[in-house]
């Protein structure tokens, strides 16, 4: 599966116009300088040979060096990926519990004002593009009020709380973006279960609404909820490009964009593989949880 992904990425970067030498030198490329650079980077070998060289290195745990600035890819990505994970997990720690809680509240007060209010706010925040939310927060909270830095520059060896303060705004944007989706899904899944006959039975037994949801409805609704949570977690890791660019956060997104633009194939390959692994892993977790939550799947006949 991952091998397929790596082939796809390699082919994709090969069919883009121009090559790494051309994009490094940009407008000021002389034919002579181009030829020299191609020679130096080994671009004159056929594509499939370059691919297998890269694959060979990868199997030995060596991601190779960047074509454009000659730095070790593993090192550069390690730091960047750590930053992206930090941002994503902060956002997830806030967004996931909040989303499920709001979903439950919505169900409890179905079609009454709390439910309507939550739905309106959620839908509004999901409809506005994230860069716009980013700019709005940047302007009001960063520039006007000065509560949080408007540009999230984090550095190595930054104290933990300073780091948290620095990423306050991008986390807020991400939470707003993924919250609505997860919340709506939780609400829909639980409501779906609430239509079932056994819930009616529980109601007739005289159980309170809160208890019904907790004991009878929620466990049965957990599979779709986990699925959507995992999907959003994957988005938090893989889809944060826009937010990272807006807030100048040194994560994977900006890194990938730069190197795609420069046709720096080894780096793009490495990023692509990491993203693919994250997706596959999170989906696997989602499947496992659904199986565990459903006795019929746990004990197949």
């Amino acid at each position: 599966m991952l091998l397929m992904v790596s082939v796809l990425i390699f082919v994709g970067t090969q069919i883009l116009p121009g090559d790494v030498a051309q994009s490094i030198l940009g407008q000021s490329a002389t034919p002579q300088a181009l030829a020299n650079l191609r020679e130096e980077l080994g671009l004159n070998q056929p594509a499939y040979i370059r691919y297998f060289q890269w694959l060979g290195g990868l199997l030995q745990g060596d991601l190779g060096t960047s074509l454009t600035n000659g730095r070790d890819i593993g090192e550069a990505i390690g730091q960047r990926f750590g930053n992206t994970l930090f941002l994503a997990s902060c956002a997830a720690l806030i967004a996931v519990p909040l989303a499920i809680l709001l979903g439950l509240v919505s169900v409890l007060y179905r079609n009454r004002w709390p439910d309507k209010l939550i739905s309106i706010v959620a839908l509004a925040s999901i409809s506005v593009p994230e860069f716009l939310i980013g700019y709005i927060l940047m302007f009001y909270i960063g520039v006007q009020l000065g509560w949080a830095p408007s540009v999230s520059m984090v550095t190595e060896g930054m104290p933990f709380f300073a780091r948290l303060h620095a990423i306050a705004l991008p986390v807020a944007v991400l939470v707003l973006v993924v919250l609505a989706h997860m919340m709506r899904m939780t609400r829909a899944a639980i409501l779906n279960v609430m239509q079932s006959p056994y819930i009616e039975t529980a109601e007739l037994k005289g159980l309170g609404m809160f208890r019904i949801i907790r004991k009878h409805a929620f466990p049965n609704a957990i599979a779709p909820v986990v699925n959507v949570v995992m999907l959003n977690l994957a988005y938090l890791v893989v889809g944060v490009v826009v937010v990272e660019v807006v807030f100048v956060y040194p994560g994977m997104g900006q890194f990938l964009v730069d190197h795609v633009a420069k046709r720096d194939v080894p780096v793009v390959q490495a990023c692509g593989l990491i993203f693919a692994s994250v997706y596959i892993l999170l989906n696997m977790i989602a499947d496992i949880v659904s199986i565990m939550a459903n006795p019929r799947l746990r004990h197949p006949k």
Partner: protein, 527 residues
């Protein structure tokens, strides 16, 4: 400090307002008496203050950048190499030479042998003393046939380089009166052993040495204790953060996270200037925005059609709507008053739809749409500029068709390949270099396919001419030829527009390149 206060200060200085009244107004505006006093002095305190860390938010950097000065082609690598390294000479805004690693230069009477005396006691960041051999090795690395240096074009036409005692000597194949200026090319940073061993180590002779290098993210520098020039390098350290998003850059300046930003979008410069605690600095430069036609490709191989298009562009309107006035109108030659030996009596070409229509008719063009390829990366606002061009040309009865190309790959697939497209040029230190780079028949980047024997001959003659008046005349002749017959449509020269916090003192107008030609870290200080 507010614009109002500056205006009042100038009134007071010319005696139109009493000092007492001025101080009263100043305190009403919430300015301390001491500050008001310095305002009255006409400029900030001339005594540089030491200390502090200057934070810069810079666009034009990527995670693919390296500290190798040979590979510096965009803004951020330019600024890092300017902070940590120095060239033999710099060029001052007035066109004079600023001697750095070389302390003097002499030319032989035939302008073919140039002797640079290398300054003694200059130290690299690694403790090694600079020798003429380091200079020679640097020049060798950039002129080597196998180099990928951006300065390779400058280093062509050198016959020999050698070291003689304290001197570094260059011999050129043809007389070249501008050779010293070529040595100011920003890639030619002097490195230990010319950077042959580890070009990207970031070891230079500059006022600041690198302490952190995270390409595309940030760079930090600390003051180099043994820097040779005590009149420069007042900060304890420099932090450069790469902020490619222009909105984020503006926000970082407004919230005080950085004190200097580059590349302020002209569209918002006026709004940003109204924000408290910062100023917009703009200086006219040598960079320009262009539409280039290939003189050897139909329909542009026809002089009358080229002239029709040159007359069909409304320069003033474009300057006002695309650059918001942060620039100057162009005259279809890549040279403006920022260059030495510029002749300002060349008549300005203006929008003339009637004359354009006549030339168009004379050219015998069949009336099919003329395709102009354009992309947002060609220059900021290129798409809008192309649309303005289309409208002003339509008024003269010339049909233009705009074809948008993707920005990714524009420089490899469209520019210098398509017969009519939008582009931009940065400046060069001297006229000779600008013409030789793009308008000589044999130039690599002759993006207008302009081939004119008389022009080429004049260029070589001017290059070797030491009599400045004669040279000026020769350049005037060249400008006339190119303006009349070239494939270059040059509507405007763009200003460098930067945002600077009021805390930063010692700012100078320097249009050689952006942010004081990269010298803000070396020359400014905090109030």
């Amino acid at each position: 400090m507010t614009k109002e206060l500056e205006a009042l200060a100038s009134l007071t200085r010319i005696g139109a307002m009493s000092r007492r009244d001025f101080l009263g107004r100043a305190s009403a505006l919430g300015v301390s008496a001491a500050m008001a006093g310095t305002l009255l002095a006409g400029k900030a305190s001339a005594q540089p203050v030491k200390g502090g860390v200057l934070q810069m938010g810079l666009g034009g950097g990527e995670s693919t950048n390296s500290l190798d000065p040979a590979a510096a082609l965009s803004q951020v690598p330019f600024h890092t190499s300017r902070a940590l390294g120095e060239t033999l000479v710099d060029v001052n805004p007035d066109g004079s030479l600023d001697f750095r690693i070389a302390e003097a230069v002499e030319a032989s009477p035939d302008a073919k042998t140039w002797t640079f005396r290398i300054r003694k006691g200059v130290e690299f960041h690694n403790g090694k003393t600079v020798t003429p051999d380091d200079v020679l090795a640097t020049m060798k690395r950039h002129s080597d046939e196998n180099t990928k240096s951006g300065a390779l074009g400058v280093m062509q036409g050198l016959a020999d380089m050698r070291v003689d005692g304290d001197n570094f000597i260059v011999e050129t194949t043809t007389p070249n009166a501008d050779l010293a200026y070529l040595m100011s090319t920003y890639q030619l940073v002097i490195q230990p052993n010319g950077g042959m061993d580890d070009p990207a180590a970031g070891i230079g002779t500059g006022a600041y040495k690198v302490t952190a290098n995270e390409p595309g993210v940030r760079y930090t520098f600390e003051k180099f204790a043994n820097y040779w020039d005590s009149s420069r390098g007042h900060f304890d350290g420099i932090e450069m953060s790469v902020i490619n998003d222009s909105t984020a850059r503006n926000a970082a300046l407004q919230s005080g996270q950085v004190q200097i930003i580059n590349q302020v979008d002209p569209k918002v410069a006026g709004l940003l200037a109204r924000a408290p605690g910062l100023q917009i600095k703009n200086v006219s430069g040598r960079g320009h925005y262009v539409f280039v036609m290939h003189c050897d490709t139909a329909p542009f191989d026809n002089h009358d059609l080229r002239m029709a298009l040159k007359l069909a562009i409304n320069r003033e309107e474009m300057l006002e709507k695309i650059l918001m006035g942060y620039g100057t109108v162009g005259n279809d030659i890549p040279i403006n008053k920022a260059y030495p030996l510029f002749d300002d009596t060349i008549p300005q070409r203006t929008y003339d739809p009637t004359a354009a229509a006549e030339f168009y008719k004379k050219s015998g063009h069949d009336g099919s749409p003329i395709v102009l390829k354009v992309s947002e990366v060609a220059f900021p606002g290129a798409i809008d500029a192309a649309q303005l061009f289309q409208q002003s040309a339509a008024a003269a009865g010339i049909p233009l068709e705009i074809e948008r190309s993707p920005g990714d790959g524009y420089w490899s697939e469209v520019w210098n390949k398509a017969p009519f497209c939008a582009s931009y040029w940065g400046g060069r230190p001297v006229q000779d270099q600008m013409y030789a780079t793009g308008y000589l028949s044999t130039a690599d980047w002759n993006d207008t396919r302009f081939k004119n024997e008389q022009f080429d001959a004049l260029l070589l003659e001017a290059r070797g001419e030491l009599d400045q008046d004669k040279r000026k005349q020769l350049y005037r002749q060249m400008a006339d030829i190119l303006r009349e017959d070239g494939g270059l449509i040059l509507p405007m020269f763009n200003d460098f527009v930067e945002g600077v916090s009021d805390k930063v003192q010692g700012w100078e107008q320097n249009g050689m390149w952006e942010v004081m030609n990269g010298l803000a870290p070396s020359k400014c200080w905090f109030a």
